[in-house]
Structures are given as structure tokens and as C-alpha cells.
Symmetry: C2
Subunit: 266 residues, 2 copies
Amino acid sequence: MSPTVELPRDLRQVLDAARTIDRRDACLQCRSRARTICAPVPAAAIDRLARLKLPPRRVPAGDQVYAEGAPCDEYFTVLQGWVALTTVHEDGGGVVLDYALPGDFFGFQGNSEGPRAQSAIAITPARLCPLPRQGVETLLQTDPLVSAHLAHLVAVHEARAHDHLVNSTARGARERVAHLLIELYFRQNHCLPHRPNEIIDLPLTLALIGETIGLTAVHVSRMLRRLREEGVIRFRRGKLEICDPYGLIGASGVEARPLADETTHQ
Amino acid sequence: MSPTVELPRDLRQVLDAARTIDRRDACLQCRSRARTICAPVPAAAIDRLARLKLPPRRVPAGDQVYAEGAPCDEYFTVLQGWVALTTVHEDGGGVVLDYALPGDFFGFQGNSEGPRAQSAIAITPARLCPLPRQGVETLLQTDPLVSAHLAHLVAVHEARAHDHLVNSTARGARERVAHLLIELYFRQNHCLPHRPNEIIDLPLTLALIGETIGLTAVHVSRMLRRLREEGVIRFRRGKLEICDPYGLIGASGVEARPLADETTHQ
DNA sequence: CGTACCTTTGAACGACATCAAAAGTTGTGG
DNA sequence: CCACAACTTTTGATGTCGTTCAAAGGTACG
């Protein structure tokens, strides 16, 4: 516990000012700024957001950021780590709706007064930048650049959900797995894989992959084996080696038109 | 062709003014206004949108409103009829991503400069209110109420896509069909069915239903027969009779928490 | 009245699920 | 450093749900 001694007012003001500068600097140096809700805020005006934000939060792997049904009073930007957005189906089965990767903004929902429609779970140790809902909502009502940008951002999320929907309903198991791997590669690197034998982080269990694309972990294991035997990939303990990038792209059924990139809209 | 005779300037001004008033009146009387992008615009300021909009467009059943890959230069509000938003999978199979019903706003996408990511097809004769993209985008940049509202609207669409995703991957065929029927009932009536033997419009073919929930038309037929034999529904040529509403809700696996309602956010 | 499309039904097949068990991996505490 | 418990991954055998193929009614529309 820090001492609760009352500071003289002038000293407190100095401290507050210093804190504001700290926050502004943190925002200015933030590597996620270009991709999250802050993107349209010019550097000169970053205080509008810097003043709003709560202190960065560390979430251990496996912990919930928020739970389905809880009140929705914070939105988040991912600074580090992976977060899974999941829903629990009545029969006990979980479904992964999406992943939030570094730079992604998540937690926003249409009915912002209502309960959360999904849970957010850190699947690696994560560092998040929380924004209070109320503050963001009033910012949205006054700053058209931010709210217009947010509308586009959410539309990109919607497009991803649609992509996900096509992938999960209109393709076979091997294609689904390949497509997911491509998507997650793309979201980390903002391009499709092209260099042979490239190794990327993929901190997912087979169970998670299965819940993302509507398969059982057992069947995902079989599909990964098949892709391995075809010389396309090797997956082991959180690392994915893409031995044959074009083979993987072919297996995924992705055409020339690449996946939507959050950084290129507008 | 109307005569191209040059009118005297003062007469033209009178005509323009009359046209503006016509448009404003049409907006003020529009039954969709409360639900679409115009909702946050107060009646007094409706000219901002009325001036923007293009003349209402009629689209015959079966015609495309726009095609996947085409440039995205208009957004739409549905005034009458049903529109299906679809994507064509490389192997020729179509997928229905969502339906736009009267009052729904559609055609907005995150990457507004890029090609359309989906096709829109009128599945009944439809009447649409088109808005030019450019005009809406500048309106979004200047009017925070409109853009904040749009962000929430799109987030509701995203939530529906997630719901759709859960439905298509985590449930059995009978549940999927029942769930879709419930969802479409809800979107027309803004409540769950409760009165026995109620009859609603459902202008869908079995093939469309199948493409929406990831089944073949053949199997949809079997599931509808099963539900009919269970005394839950009767479906025939565009009309759905919900004989046993609670039976249908039970079959769909929907819990107490009802579907998200677009009209109740904020 | 005939054509085109939608729906229904049956039979056989296949993809993925389920069940079960073993092998590998991680983390924990002695 | 080792031993043990919890979890993840792999593999096989079997079962089932939904697809595919095929053909016969229905229904709308010109």
C-alpha cells in the first residue's frame, strides 16, 4: 500500500501534470495506435484518448478478460498476446467467434448497455489497454473522426465474421484448417505467406482450432497430419512451420483476392 | 423523354425548392426511418439526409442490387421486400450471409474504396432508398451522431453474424432450421412468437434456407417435414404457419435471452 | 398446355463425430 | 533432479448425420 498522506495541492497538480504527460507519451509510442480505435486521432490531439484510458492491464494465459453476460463497461486494445472471443453453446460446447491480436480493438458491442454477448479469454499472457465504455461513448458522440473510423473498424470485423461463416459451412475439414492458418498468418504479417519453411507463432491448442472452425480436436489432429504428410506444414507446440506456402494457400481455397486488411481501409 | 427546354432561373429555383420539400416529406413519413442510418438525425435536420438520397429504386424479384466484386458506390435502406446478401464460394456453391428486411441498412463495408465483398439479391420485389457512398462518407466525417449510430448498427450486424456462426457450426440440422425460422420471425415482429397457429411471410426457397444454414435443400426438406410431423410448423410456398411457438423455440435451442434487437441499442 | 422451377422421397455413400486408450508434454512439489 | 498429476496430442474402431444421386410429384407462369 502506498502512503495515504494528503499531499499539498500544488504538488498534487505537478504530479497530475506529470502523469498526463506520461500517458500521452505512452500513447504516442504505442505500436498498436495505427490499427486500433485511436488511429484517426492526430498525435496533437492524443490527449483526448490518453486522458480516457485506464492503466494497462496484464492478464495471465487462460484468464478471462470478461465473461458472457457480464455488464459491458470497458473496451480494449490488445497491446500484447492473443485473446479469444468465445460463446458457450447451451450443450456445453464452446465456439470461438474470433481472435483479437496485438493492435486489435475488441469488446465493443451494438447494445452497449446490455450484457456481454461473448467471453474474452487470454490464450497467452496478454497486455491490454482498457478504455471505459462511458468515456468512449461520449467521445463517439462528439468526435466524428473517431466514430466514423470505429464504424469502418466494426465493419471489418463483420466481414471477418462472414468470411469465417463461409469457411465453416461451405468447405471441407482440410480446407477449413488450412484457411484458418492462412488467416492467422495474414493477421500477424499483413501479407500472405510466400517464403518456404517460415515459422510463426500459433499459440492455439487443437481444441481451440476445432472450436473455431466447427470440428473436433480429434479431427483437427487428423487434418494437420494430412497436411504434414503432404509436406505443407508442421505444427508443434505453439509454433507453425509453413513448409510450402503456396500449397497451403491452395489447400485453403483462397483465391487471388486476399483477405481484408484492417490497416488498408478508408 | 421530358422536354429539355431551358427554364427561367426563378422558376427552376421554385421547382428545386418544391423537390427538396418533397424529399423531406418522404423522409419524415418514412416508416423505416427509426431503424436505419437516419435514426439519430432529428426531424428538424432531416434535410441533411434528404438532400443526399437518390430516388427510390424498385428491384424485381431475383435481380441483383449489386454484385460481388463491383465497386461500392451506394448504400441502401430497405423500404419494402427482402434482400439476400450472398457470397459465391469458388466451387460454385452460394452462401447466404444475411438477409436485409424492411428498415435494414445494408451495403456498408469497412473498405469502402474496395470492391464489394458480397452480392445483394432481391428475393422478393423490393423498394430501396439508395444513398451515394461519397455523400454518406462525408456526412460520417462531420456528423458524430450519425457515425456513432452507424458504428452501433454495424456492431449489431456483427453480432448477428456471430449468432449465425454459432447456429451453423454448433447445432444439428433440425435446430438450425428452427433457429433460422425464429430469427426471421423475430426480425419481422421484434418479439418471439407466442400465439399458436400464427402465419407469417417467409419468401424463401428451400435452397436459400439451405445456403443460409449450411445444409442442402434436400435435407432442409426433411427437417421441415420432421417439424411438421411434430406439429410445430407448416411451411408452404412463402408462408410459414407456426403451430406450436414454444415447440419451435424449444427446437431451436434459443434460451431465455432473446435475439439482439436492432431497435433497442444505445 | 407445356416448360421451368421447386419440393418431396428413397437408397447408398462419405465425412466427420464419438468412444477409447496410449503416448507425449508441461508444470509442480518433494 | 526426479516423480507425479494434469493436460494435450495421436491413433484406431465404430457409428451417425448429412450429402449425393436419381426420379417422381407439385406449382407457377407464359
